[in-house]
Symmetry: C2
Subunit: 425 residues, 2 copies
């Protein structure tokens, strides 16, 4: 899904300890060599590409679970542990690490922290940063710092932890994290509504939000998305199902079943169909299908820019409608889907990489999309980050005062500008 | 509860708009005059005292609810609206603003954001910052900046919002905030366990955390706390009830009653008594009593230092035991109570303000308490902030690398050091 950004590292280093990470950064700082961190390499904004050359630092060998206290709902892991492994270890002990970015099996917790990754269940549970109580990091010129720890509350300092979370490797390198966990819900029960069009589907989302229920997830997939991915939908799509809303109830079984019934009720007006997967196998089939949608889309023409703008919830209709209009204006197929309850939508533009100017037109469409997000009071990125692909958008979003503060923070942490140069700007 | 810190403002200004706040700051910056923000004046760390003189800026007139969208779970308010008014307006519309600091009726949302205030229900719902999706602020030399808005997700910039939240008026002045709300729970059912001693009570807390339940609150009050406040406990204290644990189930009624039963079960081992207030009147009587404990304590000798250290959950026993030992060593009555599930404990030392060196001995006790918190891997403040009273502790907690970053951030925002001088250091 890239825009063809290429960068070549002069060297790749794979440290096995925090001290080695510090040594690498110190050497880079002394020798003025750029240093770009790479986690699982699954980022969607080109954040891990060494566009200025220099050293790429990988975290595969920093992969120990340093401590796990299931009874106290907490885990201390090194940055290279995959998010999937964190989720599994938690689950095996009756707990849950709620953040669930699409690439959880490949992405590392350090990378997910660097991007403050989200996922479908961020609606109820919040993004990665909500579950991090402390970090160990290496900051320029090569110092190790611990911020927080296994603490659930701490208001002593400025929130240095949140500053590093989501900083995309431009302020420091996270080497380990203390994670907060939750007791796992007994059951998760998705409830799916299908509608004839976006208007009916988005009205259903509004009814769900107004019903007093707190769903675990509120997703939508528009008609174009269903056209390219609906074939593999595990429960069969009705012919006139042209907009899908996925919600979920979770918790203790009896209560989750009651809430799922309320969700089905709230979704039913104007619905073509309402599905309630029942067995764990059906539930996981649904979410596996949902997770594969991005790949089904990519397979259509070989290339896709799948963005992740975020808008206030009352602007969902604008995003669904305007995504199609922008695609049409630029002559590229387009569609939208994503985390509707968070207003965080993957508006997507397809292209054939060797097509006649298609990629450029898809790129133009993205620019129009970012304009749309900003005109709606939104953000150009709700979960992927600015990286390289959205460079130049941040200043427009923040305005001059905010962007100046942003620049001064970068300067305060990384005065030589060697950490992931060209990113997050 | 102060340590007698005194500061005298040269002038007090009460702006009625964000533009007026900007004008005041610009004047201060041009004339090198210190500027100290004051919300409701209920802070417990002296953060609002103008120790360097200059201008005190009050927010009483910035008190409009700018927008309220109950169906979208959000409210946009100016900084001077009291937290109690936010809670009430939400509740009247079937919603809840979960942060519940003790002084909610007097404290303003701007002050609670400046301190990132907590409260008993932070255990399940998080502190104030978790519920803020955007802020409008004035930053030096007098510029208005909007960070975020009514957006549920945004990872574009460094987390400037979280940097201002909890910064105690030393980086900028929050003039308005976009708040996230939740549908209100149908019912809240506290479950109280009473024990012969701290060991039995803390074991009960550990059983609750290990039971797979997510309680809405997990509080404790030790024997000395009960001795001075137990007379007014609305359900009558058994003679041998010398340590109290308060938990709470919330949600839909049937489910909350089931969970309350499980909490009662988890609390019952070794318990002298387990109470489950039933009616809304009983529930609110319990929480009103809990809210009044700090005042009952203060009334004992006329003076009290009630601190708010936070520690990892496995160190609760150390805090309960060592608080008493520190009091004894320093010859002042002592006790502890607070937000056990968050490891955030109000260790308290009493003194008569005109007593023979009592206040100094209580102050020495606080210093020992901060040493204890740091030796346990904790924080010197979980919800009150550093303010003036804990100055000098931050550098010890952060260590040289973290403190240097902290200092550079202050410098980046407030190069002349005019915002709330002497605080948060």
């Amino acid at each position: 899904m890239g825009r063809g950004v290429v960068g070549t590292a002069d060297a790749v280093v794979m440290p096995a300890s925090t001290a080695e990470v510090a040594t690498v950064m110190r050497w880079c700082y002394e020798n003025e060599v750029p240093l770009t961190a790479r986690g699982g390499g699954t980022g969607l904004a080109g954040g891990a590409i060494p566009v200025a050359g220099g050293i790429v630092i990988g975290f595969e060998r920093l992969n120990r679970v340093r401590q796990f206290d299931p009874l106290l709902w907490r885990m201390h892991v090194e940055a290279g542990v995959t998010t999937g492994d964190v989720q599994r270890l938690a689950r095996e002990n009756g707990l849950r690490f709620p953040p669930d970015p699409g690439a959880a099996e490949l992405s590392q917790i350090g990378g997910n922290i660097a991007c403050n990754a989200g996922g479908p269940h961020a609606f109820k549970y919040g993004v990665t940063g909500h579950w991090v109580t402390g970090i160990e990091a290496v900051v320029p010129p090569g110092d190790v710092v611990t911020i927080g720890g296994p603490l659930r509350k701490d208001v002593a300092a400025y929130d240095l932890k949140s500053l590093l979370i989501g900083s995309e490797g431009t302020l420091g390198l996270v080497t380990a994290a203390w994670l907060r966990l939750l007791p796992a819900p007994e059951i998760e029960l998705p409830v799916v509504g299908l509608y004839r069009d976006a208007d009916a589907g988005i009205s259903a989302i509004e009814r769900v939000l107004g019903s007093g229920i707190v769903p675990a997830a509120v997703e939508y997939l528009d008609g174009e998305t269903l056209r390219v991915s609906g074939d593999t939908y595990p429960f069969g799509l009705p012919a006139d199902g042209a907009f899908m809303v996925i919600t979920e109830a979770d918790g203790a079984e009896a209560e989750a079943r009651r809430v799922a019934g309320e969700l089905a009720e709230a979704l039913s007006d104007e619905a073509v169909a309402v599905h309630t997967p029942q067995s764990p196998a059906e539930v996981s089939a649904l979410w596996r299908w949902r997770g594969g949608v991005a790949f089904a889309i990519l397979a259509q023409r070989g290339g896709a820019f799948s963005e992740d703008i975020a808008v206030p919830l009352d602007r969902l209709r604008d995003v669904a409608r305007e995504t199609l209009a922008i695609g049409e204006r630029n002559g590229v197929p387009s569609m939208s889907f994503g985390h509707a309850g968070d207003g965080n939508i993957h508006s997507t533009f397809l292209f054939a990489p060797d097509g006649d100017g298609e990629q450029e037109r898809a790129d133009d469409a993205c620019r129009e999309l970012f304009d749309l997000a900003l005109s709606l009071g939104g953000s150009v990125t709700g979960e992927h980050g600015i990286g390289w692909l959205k460079r130049g958008q941040l200043e427009r979003q923040l305005g001059p005062v905010g962007y100046d503060l942003h620049t001064r923070i970068k300067q305060a942490f990384d005065p030589k500008g060697l950490l992931n140069p060209g990113k997050k700007i």
